[in-house]
Symmetry: C2
Subunit: 198 residues, 2 copies
């Protein structure tokens, strides 16, 4: 497990937590370096010392968020691959999306156009997906090795599950199709029950 | 079948085709009303007469693109639900993404942050997803009715397939994980083969 947040100095960690509070308290639309410096209770120049733009800060914040997600998943994962897989899916796609998670997922949607053209964003998006796919793949592989799951290709299954989660996450935030999230999740669980379980 | 493009006047249709050519010839990053008016060979004021901003034009262009996709799918759909489903998936997720489709899909990624907050974009994204889900659902339902597919819930299966397609499409454009697309597609086809086929 790589906890990249350990590599952050104390002030950077404070900036990350202030960004999180600003997102949760005021929402993504209101997010600005000024708003974050209010939460931080330090001058804007403190933030600019570390990040030269709001985008650069958000990019680092994305990574910080994935670090925390990875840490949460790693501590809660047990020895039942099916339950662990359900837990990962339900953490990323809760039935009711709490405002805090909505704001976090919105950062992902908001930055994704940047990843179309800019290498630094693309690399960050690549890393996030690789880390999520690895968590899912390891869980599927444990299930296959323990004969709990059928002999599926863990990489293929993990990419399929991750793509379904991401597609559902993006659609949930950008459409009014409330029933679609529950329907996609129900089918994903049914796929796991009938396709993965031996 | 709703062919919304019929509702466009001749000039609007020309603007849509000019937008498409501008996208294909110069890419999304270079896209501007000026660039589109060059392709149209008419003054920018002609475009502004119909659309008050580049975003408004692109929003209409998204719909125009879905109309064309729907028309293509509807003419190519046959009487074999499994082949039809594979055809829909392969059209939205071709093995090699031609530059033209890459630019079209990029419009979707670029506009998605707008759909987080702005109702008019959100409604358009909702309509696009609903139309795509309906095409997939009808195909699954035909398969279930003809006993070619198992007795799955066509709505659930359609939302799952659409979410996987969308997640794969977004990741393909925003990451460098080339192998992930093929892996997710392979698992999706395997799901159809073993979960849907009776």
């Amino acid at each position: 497990m790589t906890d990249e947040s350990d590599a952050l100095c104390a002030t950077e960690k404070e900036i990350m937590h202030a960004t999180h509070r600003a997102l949760v308290n005021s929402g993504y639309a209101e997010l600005s370096i000024s708003r974050i410096s209010d939460e931080l209770d330090k001058a804007k120049s403190t933030i600019y010392h570390y990040y030269d733009s709001k985008d650069a800060l958000l990019l680092r914040f994305l990574r910080f968020t994935v670090d925390r997600f990875e840490a949460t998943i790693n501590t809660s994962i047990g020895d039942n691959p099916k339950e662990d897989l359900n837990h990962i899916i339900s953490t990323l796609l809760p039935c009711q999306l709490p405002e805090e998670k909505r704001q976090l997922h919105s950062v992902l949607v908001t930055l994704s156009p940047q990843a179309l053209e800019r290498a630094v964003f693309r690399e960050q998006f690549t890393e996030i997906d690789t880390r999520l796919a690895t968590i899912i793949e390891k869980t599927v592989r444990r299930g296959v090795d323990a004969d709990v799951f059928r002999d599926v290709d863990p990489t293929h299954a993990a990419e399929h599950i991750l793509a379904t989660i991401k597609g559902t996450m993006y659609s949930r935030l950008t459409t009014n199709r409330e029933a679609a999230t529950a329907a996609a999740k129900a089918s994903l669980f049914s796929y796991i029950d009938s396709h993965l379980i031996s």
